[in-house]
């Protein structure tokens, strides 16, 4: 997967647990875990907005793109 999710890093930096963030954002721990482990296929803007709000971060802090590991076909 070319998009890497840095949710675990941000949670560690803010000293926040996954369950607490899930409760604050309003989604299940399982869904948030899917995002954390990079298995998610898509994220809603509303969810992204809520995560950024509760983690006090920018969307760019959450995701990074790796060049050369691309499985998206034009």
């Amino acid at each position: 997967m070319p998009i890497t999710v840095h949710l675990d890093v941000l949670l560690a930096q803010r000293k926040m647990k996954l369950q607490d963030l899930a409760e604050a954002v309003g989604i299940t721990v399982q869904n948030l875990s899917i995002l954390k482990t990079g298995k998610a296929k898509a994220i809603r803007f509303s969810t992204l907005e809520s995560i950024c709000h509760h983690l006090h971060c920018q969307p760019a802090d959450l995701f990074s793109f790796e060049q050369g590991v691309c499985d998206v076909h034009p």
Binding site: I27, I34, A40, K41, I43, R44, T47
Partner: protein, 184 residues
Amino acid sequence: MKKIQKISRYLSWIFKSLLILLPITLILLPFIIHLPFMASICAVNQTYTPEGTLPLHSIPWTPLSKIIYVSGLFVEELPLYGALFILKALCRRYQQGEIFSLNNALAYQYLSYLFLVSSLITQPFGNLLRILGATLTNPPGHRYLTLSFGSLNLSALIGALLLMLLSWIMVEASRLKEEEQLTI
């Protein structure tokens, strides 16, 4: 959901039984095909040839003609065996609660391919072998090697195409469902 699981359990038993009974029937057939009691078994008591229907017990069978006839039945039933394996696996997944999954959609796709192979290849060739086996002991000029496509083949072909279309839709639906499940 419970109804699907219950029905799948019964169907699974039926498919397992057929997977055992059908090969046994084929193996026994060469030994009983010439017996008079075969006349009372409506499904297999006669075969259709260009000269009309022939009761199986009245044909002067030889070992070679029996082998050819039973080979024809075996060839015709090959897609059925494949379908029974697929249906057994499908019922097992339904029992485990896996209803709308990519594996199930692909199973229906494989079933449609088997239907297609059956209608276009195995039914005509199986029929060819059965007619040859049934008429092999006839006098010269009355032995037949026929390849035919009839309304039965057409029905199976249309069934295969419909099942293929439905399976494509199911595959796409399961992919959309997976994407929706993995959307946070």
